[in-house]
């Protein structure tokens, strides 16, 4: 029942957000400016940000949201709030150093904020080491905390009875799904237990993050290459460090094929070792980014068209794609987890039965 309610709420929000904005954006008449604005908005949304921006009132040019802490390492720790940048318009000063945001990156500048460019329009200013709590980092923190609290409560409820609490009733089949449909068939009864924690964490982390990406908060975490790189890297490292002898044998000296073929296969297999996590990284990143781009473009098209009939059609399409994206959010978490389990299974497989 709870899930249904949340689903209804989500649908309502999805319906209401574009329509509310239609009313407020009615004033924008010039089509070209609208188009470029939409493009800018989408690009802005896809990138990480230094403040948690919810929406902007264009008529009064006020931004709604809250600033996040900036943490820089530049011969000493510099910590200050991102409000100092005034949404990238001002130069921030910290302990005698000056910083400016240009194209979503922090550069060290002088007091006037002058940026020097080379002939390819790349900024040549020094970049401090940036460990800021950006919008994505903040979202990851929040969602991690949410996941932890939800599942801890779920785990605790087992102490009282065999029947879990409400969260558990919803999540337990998913936990069993990860165990029975992902881990055991791909890794095998013998070895699956030691990977369960990682598989479950990665599955629920990606799923929750993907779902929050569909809320009107405009969070786009798994559409950041650094995030997916991190997850793929951990999968890669676990695969290599838990692998058995057979795994390496199958890479460098494939049994059951003629000797010349072994020399051909070895580099291909070795390349495959790196391509597999790379594909994991790209797949998640590209799917989520593409989903966000498509959804935002469709919402943007609602403002481009003046015809109410076209707007209605695009509203329906947006709704349809939003539901598809809900499915994609789950599917990508599933595929990431399943391929991870598959690679783990390859690492621990013992091939004494065939060849």
């Amino acid at each position: 029942m709870q899930g249904k309610k949340i689903f209804k709420l989500l649908l309502f929000l999805l319906l209401i957000t574009p329509s509310l904005t239609i009313a407020s954006e009615e004033v924008a008449k010039e089509e070209n400016s609208v188009k470029s604005e939409i493009k800018q908005d989408i690009m802005h949304h896809l990138q990480d940000a230094y403040d948690f921006h919810l929406f902007t009132d264009k008529t009064t040019n006020t931004h709604y949201g809250f600033p996040l802490p900036i943490i820089l390492w530049d011969n000493g720790l510099h910590v200050f709030m991102s409000s100092k940048f005034h949404h990238g318009e001002a130069v921030a000063e910290s302990k005698g150093n000056y910083y400016k945001i240009y194209h979503n990156k922090i550069y060290k500048t002088d007091a006037e904020g002058t940026l020097s460019m080379d002939e390819n329009h790349h900024v040549t200013n020094a970049k401090p080491l940036d460990f800021s709590i950006t919008k994505s980092v903040f979202s990851v923190m929040l969602i991690s905390l949410l996941i932890f609290l939800l599942f801890r409560g779920f785990a605790k409820s087992y102490k009282k009875s065999h029947i879990p609490n409400a969260v558990g009733k919803f999540m337990e089949p998913l936990v069993l799904f990860v165990r029975d449909e992902i881990a055991i068939p791909n890794i095998g009864e013998k070895h699956y237990k030691k990977y369960m924690s990682y598989l479950l964490t990665v599955f629920f982390f990606i799923w929750f993050i993907n779902l929050t990406g569909l809320t009107p908060l405009g969070i786009n975490v798994t559409g950041n290459i650094a995030v997916t790189f991190c997850l793929a890297l951990i999968t890669f490292l676990i695969t290599q460090f838990t692998s058995k002898k057979d795994y390496w044998k199958h890479i460098f000296w494939m049994p059951g094929v003629p000797v010349p073929m072994k020399f051909v296969l070895a580099p291909i297999e070795l390349l495959g070792v790196f391509i597999k996590p790379f594909a994991l990284m790209i797949r998640l990143y590209a799917n989520i980014s593409a989903g966000h781009i498509v959804l935002m473009s469709l919402v943007g098209l609602l403002f481009v068209f003046q015809n109410w009939f076209a707007r209605g059609a695009f509203l329906g399409l947006t709704l349809f794609l939003s539901i598809i994206e809900l499915l994609v959010a789950f599917l990508q978490a599933y595929i990431f987890t399943m391929l991870t389990a598959l690679y783990f299974g390859g690492a621990v497989a013992e091939h004494d039965d065939h060849h």
């Binding site: 790379f278 594909a279 790209i282 797949r283 399943m338």
Partner: protein, 63 residues
């Protein structure tokens, strides 16, 4: 005349699309023929589709 890289990427995407479509279609046929093996077929289908998708991404990001 030089063909832009994006055209090549487009061709790869078309190829990958056809590939994934064929996988999906074949999987549907297989499920229709053997509904009791749905789970196994689905898993195999997703893995195969994911691999082709990887090629598609490689082309897209090579541009």
């Amino acid at each position: 005349m030089e063909i832009p890289a994006i055209v090549g990427a487009g061709l790869v995407v078309i190829g990958a699309g056809i590939g994934i479509g064929r996988i999906g279609g074949s999987a549907m046929d297989a499920i229709a023929r053997q509904p009791e093996a749905t789970n196994k077929i689905q898993t195999a289908m997703l893995i195969a589709a994911a691999l082709i998708e990887g090629i598609g991404f490689a082309a897209l990001f090579a541009v």
